[in-house]
């Protein structure tokens, strides 16, 4: 049925496809490189007017008089992210261990789709949830309990909302890594008379540790870049927060609130692109780090 001519054209088509499928791979790479170039190029004027140490460590943010100290934004990002990770890490790892080692198959069958669902909820909805529940809760219950006055729009609100958003990432990667620990190792530990928990603690977790660290790093980088949900509950005041009840102004919120509106002041535009560059570099560095760790983990076969 297949004519000779047909075979040639089939081979030809395969060879064309071999070249064609390279295009998307190159395209995605080029876009990534173009992003660095665009951010660097647009941020460069700010490097000329101000030394990088002033940009990073000065707290005076007065765009109209040309003062761009990013320290309030950097510390705001660090506060919110660290708080969120402090909440997320123990809860996520404990949940992952439970799902991987203890939970009944049916519990797992229910919990996993729900955790996937949590990962799919849009960040604006998390922000909405924060405004409706967490912000009033902090203002009326938690802050008075701690003896301080707070509007509720603060570091704590941002950290709590962010913690919930990062749960699925840390849980699902930790879970995968824990499941990848060979059953034989568990059996060996159990055969030596270890209890289930001892097996988990001394064998499984030790073996899975590097992978779990990678999960945490990826969670960190997600938390770093999250924009809308945090922006909606964190207050957006450019100060260096002194407590979790103070408002903060993380870097992504700064960019989202101001980019596109301050075009009349070129230095401001450039400062915002500098902020984008900081964000980009940190997130990419974290991702590369996590990837190196994960590749090692899987190459060793865990």
């Amino acid at each position: 049925m297949v004519r000779q001519k047909g075979i040639i054209s089939r081979r030809y088509r395969d060879l064309i496809a071999e070249r064609a499928v390279l295009i998307p791979a190159i395209l995605v790479s080029v876009i990534l490189i173009a992003m660095v170039i665009v951010f660097l190029d647009k941020a460069s004027p700010i490097f000329i007017t101000q030394p990088i140490t002033t940009l990073l460590f000065s707290s005076s943010w007065h765009p109209l008089s040309g003062q761009f100290g990013f320290f309030p934004f950097i510390s705001g990002t660090v506060w919110v992210t660290l708080l969120a990770m402090g909440i997320t890490i123990p809860i996520s790892i404990l949940s992952a261990v439970y799902l991987a080692e203890y939970a009944h198959r049916r519990v797992r069958g229910v919990a996993q789709p729900l955790i996937d669902l949590l990962a799919g909820i849009p960040s604006v909805v998390f922000g909405l949830f924060g405004i409706l529940l967490i912000v009033p809760l902090i203002k009326e219950q938690i802050a008075p309990l701690a003896g301080v006055n707070s509007s509720g729009y603060c570091v704590l609100a941002g950290g709590l909302v962010l913690a919930i958003m990062v749960f699925p990432i840390v849980i699902s990667i930790s879970y995968e890594v824990i499941r990848a620990v060979p059953t034989e190792m568990r059996e060996a530990a159990l055969a030596l008379g270890a209890t289930r928990w001892e097996t988990v603690k001394f064998v499984v977790l030790r073996k899975a540790l590097t992978g779990i660290i990678a999960a945490i790093i990826l969670g960190f980088s997600r938390a770093f870049g999250e924009t809308m949900a945090v922006l909606m509950v964190v207050g957006n005041v450019p100060i260096v927060p002194q407590s979790v009840f103070d408002p903060a102004y993380p870097i992504p919120a700064l960019i989202a609130n101001n980019y596109g509106e301050m075009m009349s002041i070129p230095a401001y535009d450039s400062a915002l692109m500098f902020a984008a560059l900081i964000l980009f570099v940190i997130v990419v560095a974290f991702n590369i780090l996590a990837r190196i760790v994960l590749v090692r983990v899987y190459r060793k076969g865990v």
């Binding site: 499928v21 949940s95 604006v124 909805v125 949830f129 928990w197 909606m232 980019y259 997130v283 990419v284």
Partner: protein, 280 residues
Amino acid sequence: MRRIEEAVFKALMVISLFIVLGSLLAVILVVVIRGAPALTLSMVTQVPQGGFYLGKEGGILNAIIGSLYVATGATLIAIVIALPFAWYLNQYAGKSRFADIFRAILDIATGVPSLLYGAFAFSIMLAIGAKTSLLWGILTIALFITPLLARSFDEVIQTVPFKLKEASFALGATRLETVLYVVSRQALPGILTGILLAFGRGIGDAASILFTAGYTDSIPTSLGDPVATLPLAIFFQLGSPIPAVQARAYASGIILLAIVLILSVVSRVLTKRYMKYVIK
């Protein structure tokens, strides 16, 4: 002693899982309970009428349709780029170093916050003098979901058994024919799930199109028109000092949540249905 420690940690684990699942429940419940009073039929059937932003008549049909347009367009573009990307990684690159490098790039691109894709697209728009529009909204979301999609395609295609490919080659099929008619068909359930998830991400993201899609009260009639989207509709209505408008933001939250939930259910059903074409 050993037993006590185990019991304590097991209790902590169960509590942790309850906190995680409880927060999902809390997010859904809070938004539904607070949004339900303002959720009327006109919310989903009308565009904003005069005085809508003062609490008067109208709905957010403009944003619902706008979001569907943006997410559909972006998903189509993303499929066209991501599918060949995954084919390349699995069929043509083989075990070469290039596959590793491109996978690493994909991982990095997946980790870049959507806000930065938005800022990047907007910089380009400024450079070429483009205005905010449906087209740029679609392009921005496509930038952001293409890596996600390529990564999920790659993951499912990797799970296709090598024996299946061998069988196809043994029958004289070329690599292209194998990847098109054997590998992709085998991976179809996973591919569909990936597409729906990417669509969901596209519909829910606000940070990326904040700068590029604009906002309008009417339904766009061409790619050059600005377009309203659901997440931004929620965000803008929340910013209003008028309680009636804020209540509508909550109701809009329900609509967005409903779309995401439906997508999640549909993807599960589709996966099950198409599983029957998969050779195990």
